[in-house]
């Protein structure tokens, strides 16, 4: 993976020292809360319901062993023994004290971690495919380009005070595991007819109270021109994006009001003014970054491991885990392993100290020291020998991390909701747990197959409910928690915004309603259809009738 150079390290040290000074001035009363708040937010520190929350940036969701161990140490030393992985591939700690925050930033900086770009109206952490560098599906390694964007965007003076936050995702496979189409900018690597590398540039996607699917404004941007083109997009947005109304300040509103064609035209006009020799990444720098992502240590192995096949045949639990959590690696004899943070009684995305330590140990022993975070709040060990899978499975199971449910009904995205978040209207975590509890039968869950349920505790949609096959939005109805269900959303390459099923229901009714939706699907599905496919074929009516049958 990429290692920070002297410039990066100096920047983190300076930043940490600066924040220590700012905190001291706040505690001494030299700064008011109004003056201090934007400063702490620039360092990922929010004040939530019960305590401060520190959001730590995980660039494109990639961690090494030392970093995971450091996160575990922070969880134990400064929090309540756990951390919460987010839909932006970051981790956040929910019980932080302001007075400890400078020490935590120092501890993070020692392992090249920080909280920059996790808050504020800047270009946020660039997210990418958690299988980067391991999947044969990818056209190029998206981490190379994500890292280039990181270096370009971090503390970018022109783009540090945008009208609103700005999120970029980079995907490189036909299967989109980054939700690129619901980002401010989604970049999809493409190979041109002449074999050169480029990006499809999608702009103006987003969720929140006004969801949009991103629109393509450039079918093929030569990859070498990426940074100048991003500069042009950001410049048009920075100039024309609304600053008078926080709810209309995202780029999606600008793209929607101008139309994608006109927005694209303005970007082209701006782009033509930019000196590419200044703005674009030099080939030498690109080569330097690329070299950092060449995976060392991959052995030449036979495509099939006999010991692994024998273990799989002998152990049904291992076989189930492999069916659901293990995917093909580009190198023969290796596998990509998804580690679910969605045990039925767990809080989606939470990992405790023992689990983080175990992940670090297992990645060190079996995974070439590489750990990824997914936007679906799970972890990935991208380089595991097939022959090590049985031992890895045992190691994961020992700490409750071998739940075989990736992409299944209980693999639910849920924001922290009203249990923690100052913005939330309703809880999300207990709803996720009630659904997981209802679908405890692993055979039935596998029978149902891919079903993406996503829950947000408010319209800001951190839980991605708009793009859930079944989306669940917590609302406040005269002060009580109610939940609005949507169907037919997708954050993948077939992106779409879900449609509202009907009137809101209370918390106790959500899991039974999901059960009824699943029963309709099972009765109606044809062939290999997923829930989403069946919904798209038969429409809302049968599902609606099943859920609201008692209302008639």
């Amino acid at each position: 993976m990429y290692r920070y150079d002297a410039i990066d390290k100096e920047l983190l040290t300076d930043r940490s020292n600066e924040f220590r000074h700012q905190v001291a001035r706040r505690l001494a009363g030299e700064l008011s809360e109004d003056q201090f708040k934007p400063l702490r937010l620039m360092n990922g520190l929010y004040l939530q319901l019960h305590a401060y929350m520190l959001r730590v940036c995980i660039p494109y969701g990639t961690l090494n062993v030392a970093q995971v161990r450091r996160l575990a140490w922070i969880a134990r030393t400064y929090d309540k023994d756990y951390g919460h992985f987010t839909t932006r591939q970051n981790i956040q700690f929910h019980w932080i004290k302001l007075r400890d925050a400078p020490d935590i930033l120092d501890a993070l900086a020692e392992v090249d971690l920080h909280a920059i770009q996790t808050s504020g109206n800047c270009i946020r952490n660039t997210t990418s495919d958690p299988r980067a560098g391991a999947t044969a599906e990818e056209i190029d390694d998206p981490r190379v380009w994500s890292e280039a964007i990181r270096q370009w965007s971090t503390l970018h003076p022109e783009f540090s005070y945008l009208p609103r936050k700005f999120k970029i995702a980079v995907t490189a496979s036909a299967k989109d595991r980054t939700a690129a189409r619901v980002h401010d900018i989604g970049l999809a690597l493409r190979r041109g007819r002449d074999g050169t590398l480029g990006f499809e540039v999608m702009v103006g996607g987003g969720m929140g109270r006004t969801p949009f699917i991103g629109q393509t404004i450039k079918e093929f941007l030569p990859a070498t021109r990426l940074l100048s083109y991003l500069e042009a997009v950001l410049r048009v947005y920075n100039r024309a994006g609304r600053r008078d109304n926080i709810y209309k300040a995202r780029i999606k509103i600008l793209v929607s009001s101008l139309g994608a064609e006109e927005f694209g035209r303005q970007v082209e006009e701006e782009w033509a003014q930019i000196d590419g020799a200044r703005a674009d990444l030099p080939d030498t720098e690109l080569a330097r970054i690329r070299a950092a992502f060449i995976q060392p240590g991959l052995e030449v192995l036979p495509a099939v491991s006999d010991s692994y096949e024998a273990a799989r045949a002998a152990n049904p639990a291992l076989a189930r885990f492999i069916r659901n959590n293990v995917s093909a690696h580009k190198a023969p004899g290796y596998a990509i392993v998804d580690v679910s943070l969605k045990a039925h009684d767990a809080t989606p995305g939470d990992a405790n100290f023992d689990q983080l330590e175990a992940i670090a140990d297992l990645a060190e022993r079996f995974g070439l020291g590489d750990i990824r975070v997914t936007h679906e709040q799970n972890l990935v060990l991208p380089h595991v020998k097939q022959s090590d899978l049985p031992a890895l499975f045992e190691g994961l199971a020992a700490v409750g991390l071998a739940t075989p449910n990736i992409n299944l009904v209980s693999d639910i995205i849920a924001c922290p909701g009203l249990d923690y978040c100052a913005l939330a209207n309703a809880r999300a975590i207990p709803v996720a747990q009630s659904i997981a509890q209802r679908f405890l039968d692993a055979d039935r869950a596998e029978l149902v197959g891919e079903l993406k349920i996503k829950i947000s505790g408010c319209i800001n949609a951190c839980g991605h409910h708009h793009v859930g096959h079944i989306g669940i939005l917590g609302v406040d109805k005269k002060g009580e928690e109610y939940y609005q269900l949507t169907l037919g959303g997708s954050g993948a390459e077939d992106a779409s915004i879900g449609k509202i099923l009907g009137p809101g229901i209370n918390a106790d009714q959500v899991a039974p309603a999901v059960d009824r939706l699943v029963e309709v699907y099972l009765a109606e599905r044809q062939g290999e259809e997923r829930f989403l496919d069946t919904y798209r074929r038969i429409g809302m009516t049968p599902f609606k009738e099943a859920v609201y049958v008692d209302a008639h």
């Binding site: 305590a51 309540k80 007075r99 005269k478 002060g479 928690e481």
Partner: protein
């Protein structure tokens, strides 16, 4: 009504009680007069180095005892429902049980005032 805030240095939820900040809702001072409550808010706001985001919350008495009217404020007074060992609820006891047993929900009026003021 009661007056609540978060402690600046720790972020903990606190309640006003006769010129001091206390950790438990059960120890909070209750205001029946608007003027007394607003006077306490003014004092709290002057304590810029001690607390942030001070605001008044509505309180109701039921068979179980006193509790904030709004569900959000009961959560603040207790802790998260997914980890019953975390937050103030870990203390246990009759006052916590009363808060947990309280039902009915409403928006946090004080919170809305806070947003409006901002």
């Amino acid at each position: 009504m009661a007056l609540t805030a978060n402690r600046l240095s720790e972020g903990d939820v606190v309640f006003w009680a006769s010129g001091q900040w206390v950790d438990q809702f059960a120890e909070a001072e209750l205001f029946t007069e608007e003027a007394t409550a607003e006077a306490a808010v003014a004092l709290a706001k002057a304590q810029n180095r001690v607390v942030v985001d001070a605001y008044l919350i509505d309180v109701t008495r039921s068979e179980q005892g006193l509790a904030p009217v709004s569900y959000r404020e009961r959560l603040r007074a207790l802790g998260p429902t997914n980890e019953l060992g975390h937050g103030k609820q870990a203390l246990g006891g009759a006052a916590i049980t009363a808060l947990q047993a309280a039902s009915g929900a409403a928006r946090s009026t004080g919170r809305l005032d806070l947003i409006r003021r901002k």
